[in-house]
Amino acid sequence: MKTNMMIKIIVGLILSLLIATTQAEELLMARTKQSFPEAMLKLQETILKLGYKVSRIQRIDIGLTKSGYETDKYRIVFFSTEKEVAEVSKKYPHLVPYIPWKIAIFAEQQDTLLVSADPIQFSNKKYPGADKYLLKWKKDTQNIMQILRQSE
């Protein structure tokens, strides 16, 4: 019992230190040379490779051309796992409106841009246990962006 408590304290300490040493950015963004359909495929494939499931792809294209855009290629990709949604929603109410995690993807002329918030921005001292998810989402979102950046 005592050992378990010690482990929890140490893990908590480690996560807090990791959060403290991880500088929060505001947005995580990437530009890929891939066309929009290719980038969409690569994004979904990468999400799956990292062990997540795409829970929904939301089209954001109604009226886009009317508001002056040359393209209507705009989607929001939501992803998570059953276990993560269950645990996070049970223990961390401050993250409920932000799960499943999402990446916005849209065409910018020949390129495609990806945008996500930095999960560390949602770290809350009241819920230190949530930091392990935030750190994981940040690392995975950065990985996704890096893989897309390197895709030609």
């Binding site: 795409v54 009226g63 849209f106």
Partner: protein
Amino acid sequence: MPQKYYLLISLFFLFASPLVQANTNGEQLYTTHCSACHGANGNGGVGVPLALPDFQYGVTNDYLKETIRHGRPGRIMPAFTSLKNNEVKAIIKHLRSWAPGKPFKYSNKKIKGNIKHGKQLYAKNCAACHGANGKGGEGTGVTFSRPRNLPVIAPALNNSGFLASAPDLMIKTVLMNGREGTPMLSFLKQGFSEKDIDDVVSYVRSFEKTVVSKKTRENVNPIISYESPYPLKETLAIIKKAIIGKNFRIIRQQYLNQGLVEKGKENKKQVMIYFCNFNFLNRALAIDPRVGLFLPCRITAVEKNGKVTVTSINPLYMSRFFNNAKLEKLCDEMHQVYVDIVEESTF
């Protein structure tokens, strides 16, 4: 101390060490932090075309450094405060690889011109592009896949980031020579004397006294959340009514874990309602296409231990990620919409 503790502490250092080490590969840093806006080869897009030769020769390394450090508050370009000094240097070195040759060097000498006369000249010759009182060209640079008529949007000269980065002599040189590849003309060629230009520089510098500090949103809660006195089913019905009452359209109702679990096995006590107002959406997208991170609008109702909690994102909290003053106004509006819906469905 048991062996497992040593293992955990070692793991910490293993994970933490790459986070505190500086990366000095300028190209890699540029790709990660800058290319999404400035383009892979500095050709611009959202941000200034950094590869433009006249820009390269006209700005000093200090100007670039200070711009990276301060950003342009409210004008998209964020302040990269977490980059280490040698990382900033590496990025600048990479930027410089696009235009061989040496950039201008300016001293920090202050120009003392006639502010009153500078103001008159500014109003007549500069305000059409740079806006009254130096507020900058319309739009904040984010054009993404919209028609783009000009390579740049006239910078906001009253921006604290600009004023902290640009020495007087740099502003004077740009006024004298113009900037090829952009609409900025040489004002010497337009008939200005050097004294006139000094007067305009002094007027621009005087904006420092009027710079309004950015509204701080540091103590804003990331969520809007209230407990409902009603059972889940009834709460959902009231939420929908409140959404429609706010002139939004309900797009869809689904469970929080829908799409992640087998159909029929969803947690029926966690429900999301997605909604939208297309007019509002188009206004937001016209200001900043990255607002996809807010979309679609959503209220989540969760029943736990017999209590129902109604929650949404807080647009005021999200708005600070975008550094877009125009978007902040819309976020204020959207915040009120969320508060009204959540309050109405829980009182």
